[in-house]
Symmetry: C2
Subunit: 89 residues, 2 copies
């Protein structure tokens, strides 16, 4: 069965306060990176999925986001699916 | 001065063990998502940068990665720069 890589970006919704981003912003300011105006920190998760089709792989990734990876109240997610390079199996 | 959004993907190098990814993988298996073969968890950071040019914004983002955001021994980073939508200032 073909293998796909799902790259998932999980970001806090814009209305949610991001203390980690604020901390990174302050650290950058202290190091002289004063042109940085704002920082938001999210997650980037890569799933390796065995599926018959790209659509089936997308469905697995979306279900994973809804069940485990993202908090639907505070976070948004975006999914990109790409075929994995064929392995020399 | 124009504003740019730098989207930074920080990933563990492939040779580095990812315990968070293993935990997520196990959780997905337990929930029946058995077609997921592997999980890697990284960070996705968005910087809002005021800079004269796109290249200048890239330089700020790269310096930020090297100084604060990424651990150069264990992590890789990728930077994408996009012009921010003009605000109605």
């Amino acid at each position: 069965m073909p293998t796909y890589h799902a790259t998932i970006a999980i970001t806090l919704r814009p209305s949610i306060l991001d203390p980690e981003g604020k901390a990174v912003h302050q650290a950058l300011q202290n190091l002289g990176q004063t042109s940085v105006q704002n920082v938001r920190v999210g997650k980037r998760i890569t799933l390796t999925i065995e599926a018959k089709t790209k659509d089936a792989a997308y469905d697995v990734a979306e279900t994973s986001c809804q069940k485990v990876l993202a908090n639907p109240v505070t976070e948004n997610y975006e999914i990109e699916i790409a075929a994995a390079a064929p392995s020399a199996a």
